[in-house]
Symmetry: C2
Subunit: 444 residues, 2 copies
C-alpha cells in the first residue's frame, strides 16, 4: 500500500504538516500508552498481531460447518456488525456471482433495517434453501438485528428441527452478558466473542468480520497477514513520513483546517463500492461529534463522474478527495478492434481496459485538482485478501490518530442513542415509561 499526497499539499500551507507533527506524534503515543480519550476501546490497535493461527483455524472450522450445511448464510447485524464483512466479500467476489452457481453459501445481510417487505421477501427466499445464521450483536437487543434473528431462529428450527438448527446458527457476541450470549449458551450454539475493547466499526478483524468472510470462501489468514504487516508499518516508532496512517491523518486534518468540509472517497473498481460504506461509518462515527468532523461521502468512478462529477468539478470548493486505486486487475481484457470503427474507438484497440481506466483516473485527478479539489491517492497492488487487510488496518489506525488530532473521542458514538431512545419511548418499551409520557406530551 502506498499513499501519495503530492496533489494535496498545494492546498495547504507549506508548513502545515510540520505544524501538525507534534499532534500526530502525541496521538500515536496516546493510543500506544492508552492515555487518550476512549482508551477503553483500543483493542483494535494491536489486534492483528494478537491473532493466532489456532484462532484462525477455529473460525475456519466453523465456517466449514456452515459451508457444508447451508446454501445460504444470513449475517444478522447492523453497522459495524456487517459493513466490514460486506466490504471484504464484495471486493473479492465475482461482480455477477449472484447469478451464477456457487459451491459456497450465498452470504446475505439482514438485521440492518426494519423493512417489512425486505424481511418478508428474505423469508420467502429462505423457504427455498437450506440456510444458517450468524447472529452478530454485542447485546442481542439491538432492535433491527433482534427482530430479524427472532424470525430466522424460529424459521431455521422449523425447517431443520431444533437439533440440526443448532449446528448452523452461530453467535458472535459478548463473552458473558446480554441476550445473544444467554441464548447461545442456552441453545448450545457455537459462539465467538466480540471483545469488550473493540468497537463495532473497528471490529472487522474480529470474528464479526472474519467468520462471514471465511464462510464466503476467502482466505482470512492472508487478510490478517496484510493487517499485521500494516500494523508493523504504522508502528508508533516508525518515522512519521514512512507511516501511511500518520500521513493520512495529518493531511486530512490540515485540509479540513483550510475549510474543506467534505471528504469524498473514490474508487475506480466497482467491487470497492462497499469500501466506501465501511469507511463512512469508520470516519463519520469516529469524528462526527461535538459539532465538528469532516463529512464523509463516497463515489464510484468513472461511474459517478456522470452523476456527482459536475458538483465535484464546479460546486462549492469545500471538498477533497481520497482515491483508492488498484494497480492491477485480476483478469485480462482488451478493447477489440472493429473494421468499421463507427464508434471511433479503434485508437484504443489492443489496449487493456484497465489502461483506459487508469488514464480516466489520471485525467480526473488532474481535472479535479485544477478545479480546486485536493487529492490524496492510496494505491494497493491488487484486490486480494492481503491487500485489503492492509487497507483495513491503515484506515483504522489513521482514524484513531485523526480523531485525536481533531480533539474528539474517536471511539464512542453517543449520538447513536438519540433515535433509539425516542423509538423505544414511542413503542412503549418496558423501562421507558417516563420517556413515553414525555414524548407523547411533546407530540401533543
Amino acid at each position: 500500500m502506498q499513499i501519495n499526497i503530492s496533489k494535496a499539499q498545494q492546498f495547504i500551507a507549506a508548513d502545515a504538516l510540520e505544524a501538525l507533527a507534534p499532534q500526530v506524534k502525541a496521538a500515536q503515543e496516546a493510543l500506544e500508552q492508552g492515555t487518550c480519550q476512549g482508551n477503553d476501546f483500543l483493542g483494535w490497535l494491536h489486534l492483528p498481531s494478537s491473532i493466532t493461527p489456532e484462532f484462525i483455524d477455529e473460525i475456519n472450522a466453523t465456517a466449514k460447518v456452515l459451508q457444508e450445511n447451508c446454501e445460504a448464510v444470513v449475517v444478522a447485524g447492523i453497522g459495524g456488525s456487517y459493513l466490514g464483512a460486506r466490504m471484504v466479500i464484495d471486493a473479492l467476489s465475482n461482480s455477477f456471482s449472484w447469478l451464477q452457481p456457487s459451491n459456497m453459501p450465498r452470504i446475505l445481510f439482514a438485521g440492518n433495517n426494519i423493512g417489512e417487505d425486505y424481511l418478508t421477501e428474505l423469508i420467502g427466499y429462505l423457504k427455498t434453501v437450506k440456510f444458517g445464521v450468524i447472529n452478530i450483536s454485542k447485546s442481542g437487543t439491538t432492535t433491527e438485528t433482534a427482530i430479524t434473528f427472532r424470525l430466522l431462529k424460529k424459521m431455521c428450527e422449523d425447517q431443520r428441527g431444533k437439533e440440526e438448527a443448532k449446528k448452523v446458527i452461530v453467535a458472535v457476541t459478548d463473552a458473558k452478558k446480554g441476550a445473544a450470549r444467554t441464548t447461545a449458551d442456552k441453545e448450545g450454539y457455537k459462539s465467538f466473542i466480540i471483545p469488550d475493547n473493540v468497537g463495532g466499526r473497528f471490529s472487522v478483524l474480529t470474528p464479526v468480520g472474519l467468520l462471514p468472510i471465511a464462510v464466503a470462501g476467502y482466505d482470512i489468514a492472508s487478510l490478517v497477514k496484510g493487517a499485521q504487516d500494516m500494523e508493523a508499518q504504522c508502528d508508533v516508532n516508525a518515522p512519521a513520513d514512512q507511516n501511511p496512517a500518520a500521513v493520512y491523518a495529518a493531511v486530512r486534518n490540515a485540509i479540513y483546517q483550510t475549510g474543506k468540509k467534505i471528504e469524498i472517497i473514490c474508487n475506480y473498481q466497482p467491487k470497492l463500492h462497499n469500501l466506501g460504506e465501511w469507511w463512512k461509518q469508520l470516519y463519520g462515527e469516529s469524528e462526527g461529534k461535538d459539532g465538528k468532523g469532516i463529512f464523509p461521502a463516497a463515489v464510484d468512478l468513472t461511474t459517478d463522474l456522470h452523476s456527482m462529477g459536475q458538483w465535484i468539478q464546479d460546486g462549492e470548493r469545500t471538498i477533497f478527495e481520497t482515491v483508492v486505486s488498484v494497480e492491477n486487475p485480476n483478469t485480462c481484457l482488451e478493447v477489440p478492434s472493429d473494421e468499421e470503427n463507427l464508434d471511433g474507438l479503434n485508437f484504443l484497440a489492443g489496449k487493456r481496459i484497465d489502461q483506459v481506466n487508469k488514464m480516466a483516473e489520471l485525467g480526473t485527478q488532474l481535472a479535479h485538482v485544477d478545479g480546486g479539489v485536493p487529492n490524496i491517492k492510496i494505491s494497493i497492488e491488487k484486490l486480494d485478501e492481503y491487500n485489503i487487510g492492509q487497507l483495513i488496518y491503515f484506515f483504522e489506525k489513521a482514524c484513531g490518530i485523526s480523531g485525536l488530532i481533531l480533539g474528539v473521542n474517536p471511539f464512542n458514538q453517543p449520538g447513536v442513542e438519540a433515535y433509539k431512545k425516542n423509538m423505544f419511548a414511542l413503542l412503549n418499551k418496558p423501562g421507558y415509561e417516563a420517556e413515553s409520557a414525555a414524548i407523547q406530551a411533546k407530540l401533543g
Copy 2:
C-alpha cells in the same frame, strides 16, 4: 404524494418562504415560457402529458421481444442513461430477486464504468445465457458505454448469429446523428429516440428509462400516469402552497441560505436506495456549478443510523434531511411472540414490522430535529409504479425551480467535460493532439 415542511420551518426565518415566493413564481414562469437559462433543455417539463398510449404500446412491444428472446438484458449506459431505470426497477423488485427464478429477463447495468474485472466477469456470465442489449447513448461515443457496447455487440452476434442478434439489440439514441444512430440504422436495430431537449438526468420518462423498466416487467403506463398527475399538480398556475415542487424548491433554498450546505436524502425502505443515487445526479449535476450548490448525499435508514447516524446527530450543524417515506408496505409480517423472550422483544409481539419502522422514523426525526437538523418529509402511499411516477416528476420539477432560484443553469453540465478531455488527451485520441502534447508537458 405529500410534502411536510413543518420540521424545517423552525430553522429558517418566519418570512423566508414568503421572501422567496417571487423567485419561485418567476422560476416557474421562466420554465413555462422557456425564457430561463438552459431553455433548450426543457423537454422534460411537459413530457409526461405528451406521452401517448400508442407510444407506450410501442415500447411494450419491443420489451416483449426482448422478454421472449432473452434471459438477461444488459442496459449499456452511464449517468442519466441508467440511474433512472435502475431506481424504478429496484424500487419495484423483490429484494432477493437475483437469487430466485424469474420469467422476466435479468436486467444488468453495464457501460457505466471501465472496470476490467467487471467487464470480464460480465462476459463470463453472459456466455451462459441468451442475452440482449439496450444501448443507451445520445452520441454513441461515450467511452464507458461505447467500449462495453463494442464488446457486447460482437459477443451477441457470435452467440446468435448476426441476423438473430439484430432482434435483441435495441438502440436508444439521437434521432439523426452520432455513432449509435449510424450503427442502429446500418444494422437495422429497433431504435428509440432521446429527444434533443431532454438532458440525461431528466430522461427517465423517455425510452431511456421506460424501455428497461418495461423489459423488467413493470407497468410503464402507470408510471407515466403518476408523472402526468404530478405534472398537473405542479402546474404553474397552481397556488404555490399546493404545489409540492414549489414548496420543496423554496424550502431547500431557504435552508441553504442559512448555511446548511449538505442535503441528505433518507429512506426507510431498502428498495429506495437507488432513488438516492438518481436524486444525487439530478440535484448535484443541476446545481453544483459556479462555485455553489447544495452537496447531495444519501443514507438508507435505519441501516445507516449505525453508520452516518452519529455524524448526523452531532457533527457540524451544516446539514439538512429530506426523508422519502412510504406509508404502506406491500407485504404483511408481524413480530412473533416468543415464550422465553430472552431478547426482550415481546413488547413488540403482534405489531407489524412496519409499525416498528414508522416509530423508528418518527423517533429519528425528533432526535435529528432536536439535534439541529432541519427535516423535510415526502410521503408516498406505497411502492408502485404510479407513486414512483409521481415522485419522479415532483423531483424533476422542483429541481428546475430550485436551480433557477439558486441562479445557475440547471440544465447544463459543463464540468463533466473536464475529465473526458484529459482522458482523451492521455489516450492520444485522434483530434486531441494539442491537448495530448499539453498534458504530457504538464506531467513532465
